[in-house]
């Protein structure tokens, strides 16, 4: 059964996401961010010292997305990847996506945050580092996407 709309409208999802940032600060005095949560979840998995609240945050992110998938009619196993999947054969797509994930993870950890930690939490706090980082990753991503479009002859 499908209990969620196909796509929750931005004017509902956006403000509610803002409230989760405020909620974590207001309740626990902690900044919401995924990169450090990944880092601490990895420490937890390797049985090294970790921040318990960040591992809980990571578990929450996974659980929340899982509930949304269930409400959307359950899990549907697939290897879909939009236009990129149409363009690149699976044998090349797997290393490409592994590499892209690696680059993203390295960059986000170097920068001190990603789209959640810098893009939402940090800009909402008017943190200069986050405002600069968000402007930089937005501009870079738009430019690289445009470049990919040109290089692939408009296929991407």
């Amino acid at each position: 059964m499908d209990l969620l709309p196909d796509r929750l409208a931005w004017y509902i999802a956006g403000p509610l996401m803002g409230l989760t940032v405020v909620g974590l600060y207001a309740l626990a005095n902690k900044p919401l961010g995924a990169t450090t949560a990944y880092s601490q979840a990895f420490s937890f998995l390797r049985r090294q010292p970790f921040d318990p609240w960040r591992v809980s945050l990571f578990a929450g992110l996974v659980a929340g997305a899982f509930v949304a998938a269930l409400l959307r009619g359950g899990l549907s196993w697939n290897l879909d990847y939009g236009k990129l999947g149409d363009l690149v054969p699976l044998a090349a797509l797997v290393p490409l996506l592994l590499g892209a994930g690696f680059v993203m993870g390295y960059g986000a950890r170097w920068s001190g945050g990603c789209t959640s930690g810098h893009g939402l939490r940090g800009t909402s706090s008017l943190s200069p580092a986050s405002l600069a980082a968000t402007g930089t990753f937005m501009a870079t991503a738009v430019a690289v996407t445009a470049l990919l479009n040109v290089v692939t002859g408009g296929d991407l």
């Binding site: 659980a63 990847y81 390295y106 200069p128």
Partner: protein, 140 residues
């Protein structure tokens, strides 16, 4: 505190998936500047959160689980900007970022798991370099 982190993370993860931010096409179209919805989503999140955080700070809000509220702010560093440029490059190729990649994975997308594995690896490498150089990574 752990429960607060779990539930706020849960709500965030739920909303990411509900708004289809875990869909390559949605993010790719956003980055091709072909649809404004994700920009509007991020803008409206900040428009709601920023004034509320300022208000709580001004009222010297006492949080129930973490003492007096202190909103983190950091100065601009080369590290923040260069790292963001590298992150943006990976984001453009993968059409997904850390929370959406998790959401893609748990909704059954096998290639989301590949991106997630890469994210763990990249984050672990930077953590290892920082540990070796005795640098505290900037928390976000």
């Amino acid at each position: 505190m752990r429960a607060a982190a779990f539930f706020m993370g849960g709500a965030f993860g739920f909303l990411v998936a509900a708004a289809r931010l875990n869909d390559y096409t949605v993010i790719h179209d956003m980055l091709r500047l072909q649809e404004p919805d994700v920009f509007l989503l991020m803008g409206s999140a900040v428009a709601v959160a920023a004034p509320l955080l300022l208000l709580l700070e001004r009222r010297r809000w006492q949080t129930p689980f973490g003492g007096p509220l202190k909103v983190q702010r950091a100065p601009v560093t080369q590290r923040a900007v260069f790292g963001a440029a590298i992150f943006g490059t990976g984001w453009a190729v993968a059409g997904t970022c850390p929370v959406p990649a998790l959401a893609m994975t748990v909704s059954g997308g096998g290639l989301g798991a590949v991106v997630t594995a890469g994210l763990f690896g990249g984050i672990a490498l930077r953590d290892a370099i920082d540990r070796k150089k005795h640098i505290a990574p900037p928390a976000c």
